[in-house]
């Protein structure tokens, strides 16, 4: 089998997707990043290599997500793209005709507006991470319920309580207050879902024309409570594609196909990188008072990449292609 590999390294999860040359998804892996992007990508590659039939040929690999540069260096990516472009590309293929994409991931949330198959507008959360997956994760942990069960418990709500959703800190104290008043757990969870949806629509979706079909994706789309809250608030049906949690990786794979076809070759280093010893270190550059934290990725004695310097003193020492 021949195909393309897409890798999405996010703050909460790392996803890998293998698709055949026609763009049909053959394997999808969802892993928790747990603060170790390199090890997680390696684990994912190993798992993928085990699942794929022997002799599988990777014709291109793309990376996306907040760890895209890091992952791109490790695997030798053909396309390193931001997650907005990746998500839009994936939705257009998996949900033809999509006009609105609601995406809530671990650390950020975004809305993408598509018209006639082209991204016409997008917005992303600004300085605040309230209303993203990490916050839900944290609250689930605090209430001692597994995040996977969050949604179904929220669906049992009879009358969701009102929770302030503008700020994660206020939301938490509001929730604690409601708990101490004796509100039931399902009502609180459903209230939280509604608060997050309100916050998302006011903050991220502000001023955008939300038209059907609406696609909801990203890790948080696994939460049925959130789906229901969106449908209630928008008054529109909300679709969740079957690969909702790995859409970024799907997009990265599609972009890799585009790039590798154009270049006529792939830079993929092979599944062997799962065994290689990569080291990520950082040092503070003493060159000026900015004291930039320079991150360095090494394999053995070889420096693969550096970034983080404002002036380019360290990153420019390596070839441009690798750093960009």
């Amino acid at each position: 089998m021949k195909g393309y590999l897409g890798i999405d390294v996010g703050s909460v999860s790392t996803n890998l997707v293998f698709m055949n040359e026609g763009g049909i998804i053959r394997e999808a892996i969802y892993l928790r990043t747990q603060g170790q992007p390199i090890a997680t990508v390696q684990r994912g590659l190993k798992e993928l290599a085990d699942r794929l039939p022997a002799g599988t040929q990777v014709r291109g690999v793309g990376t996306t997500g907040s760890g895209r540069h890091l992952a791109g260096i490790i695997v030798g990516a053909d396309a390193v793209k931001n997650e907005i472009t990746a998500h839009a590309v994936a939705s257009l293929v998996l949900v033809p005709g999509a006009q609105t994409i609601l995406e809530i991931g671990g650390q950020d949330s975004k809305i993408i507006i598509l018209r006639d198959g082209v991204v016409t507008d997008f917005a992303m959360n600004t300085v605040c991470a309230a209303g993203t997956g990490s916050f839900l994760d944290q609250q689930a942990a605090r209430l001692n319920i597994p995040i996977e069960r969050f949604g179904e418990i929220a669906l049992e709500a009879e009358s969701p309580v009102r929770i302030a959703g503008r700020c994660a800190v206020f939301a938490e104290s509001d929730m604690i207050h409601k708990q101490q008043m004796g509100c039931s757990l399902p009502d609180i969870l459903a209230g939280l879902c509604e608060a997050l949806v309100r916050n998302y629509l006011n903050n991220v979706g502000k001023g955008k024309e939300i038209l059907s079909p609406v696609v909801f994706q990203g890790g948080v789309a696994a939460n049925v409570g959130m789906i229901k809250a969106f449908e209630k608030e928008l008054g529109l049906p909300v679709q969740v594609p079957s690969y909702f949690d790995v859409m970024g990786a799907v997009g990265a794979g599609l972009l890799a196909r585009e790039a590798a076809t154009k270049n006529g070759r792939s830079y993929f280093k092979g599944f062997g990188v799962a065994e290689a010893k990569f080291k990520a270190g950082s040092f503070e550059c003493p060159g000026c008072p900015n004291m930039c934290e320079v991150v360095e990725i090494t394999e053995g004695d070889l420096v693969l990449a550096r970034w983080g310097d404002r002036c380019g003193k360290w990153s420019n020492q390596l070839s441009k292609e690798k750093v960009s």
Partner: protein, 366 residues
């Protein structure tokens, strides 16, 4: 008396020129850096905006270099900036950095009010010399702006990455070094020649983005994570809604010099959306967005510091402008965060969006 002042982009070049022309002893604070911000954050009220914190850090660092007097701009109106000079002065006193304070309030009716204030610094110098000093400072501001505009055009088209930045730095140093109007004219020409010497690919498709928003975060590259440079390397030609010389002409000379883009134009363009002064540059932000849309720009990016009230007003008006003119816009809020991944993601995605709308995908796949 050893004077210092806060940094704001290239402001130090014209301001130093004016003060030195008057024979003042000037200490330019070290360029704003993480250390400056750390000092500012330590002593400033938590809810103050980032420009306040950087100002304060600049003053503390300048004092370490021997400065004893702060020259600071004043203001009035809904933006908190108007009382920053006084608060910063009080904080400096509290932490044992007692410094003199000279506040240059913007004139209300006539440029003579401004000249009068500069005279206070000048001591025994004649009126003629004071006016010449202000003129010289203005000429430097204009020279720096023209150089910057040339760099905005060259950067997205440069063949060797970083070549424009190098040429720009050389040009700035030349302008900074000029000590008279005659020398400045020569330096100005030379600087522009260096920039035009950057090898460029003129056939490369570039996108045009207008940068609008709050003056400090627009002008100070440290506060906006080198936004212009980043966009340049993504293949984008930028223009800014505020340049130093235009600001000086609008607010200090009250429009005395003709032929420059003025805030009145911006405010007139804002009229269908916002007819009132809302503090800071809120109204100009809206007007400039309209003007950029009319001028055929591909997109607009609004920049402001976290908690900036005038720009928050403008932000909520912008979707209307974007809808009417069909121009995409992106808002970037700057604060202490130093992680740049989020910023880069937004910029890349925005540039992708504009390029795909324009049908020039090679820009992004370069």
């Amino acid at each position: 008396m050893r004077l210092t002042f806060p940094h704001m982009g290239n402001l130090h070049i014209p301001l130093k020129a004016m003060l030195q022309y008057l024979g003042a002893d000037v200490v330019v604070p070290p360029p704003s850096s993480k250390k400056t911000l750390t000092l500012g954050v330590k002593y400033a009220p938590e809810f103050a905006c980032m420009p306040f914190k950087l100002n304060l850090g600049n003053f503390i660092e300048a004092r370490e270099l021997g400065a004893d007097t702060v020259v600071m701009a004043g203001g009035c109106g809904p933006c908190r900036f108007g009382y920053y000079a006084q608060i910063e002065h009080a904080i400096l006193k509290d932490i044992g950095c007692d410094m003199q304070l000279i506040v240059l309030e913007p004139p209300e009716k006539h440029i003579s009010e401004f000249i009068l204030k500069v005279r206070q610094i000048a001591g025994t110098r004649s009126w003629w010399q004071v006016i010449q000093a202000i003129r010289f400072g203005y000429q430097k501001a204009r020279a720096v702006d023209l150089l910057e505009i040339a760099s905005f055009k060259a950067r997205p088209r440069e063949l060797v990455p970083g070549a424009t930045e190098l040429a720009y730095r050389q040009g700035l140093a030349l302008i900074d070094g000029a000590t008279s109007s005659v020398e400045l004219k020569e330096a100005n020409k030379k600087a522009l020649r260096i920039i035009s010497g950057v090898t460029q690919d003129h056939s490369r498709p570039v996108l045009k983005i207008g940068l609008i928003g709050e003056i400090y975060t627009l002008l100070e590259p440290f506060s906006n994570h080198n936004l212009e440079r980043r966009l340049g390397s993504l293949g984008v030609e930028v223009d800014r809604s505020i340049y130093l010389s235009e600001w000086v002409n609008d607010h200090l000379f009250l429009g005395l010099i003709k032929g420059l883009r003025s805030k009145n134009e911006a405010c007139a363009a804002a009229a269908p959306y916002l007819r009132h002064f809302v503090g800071g540059h809120g109204q100009e932000t809206i007007g400039s967005a309209v003007n950029y849309a009319r001028a055929g720009y591909d997109g607009v990016i609004q920049v402001f510091p976290f908690t900036c009230m005038p720009e928050i007003v403008a932000k909520s008006v912008l979707p209307g402008v974007g809808g009417d003119f069909g121009i995409p816009f992106l808002t970037l809020i700057m604060d202490e965060q130093s992680g740049e991944a989020g910023l880069l993601t937004r910029l890349e995605a925005f540039v992708d969006l504009l390029a795909r709308r324009k049908g020039i995908e090679e820009v992004v796949n370069r």
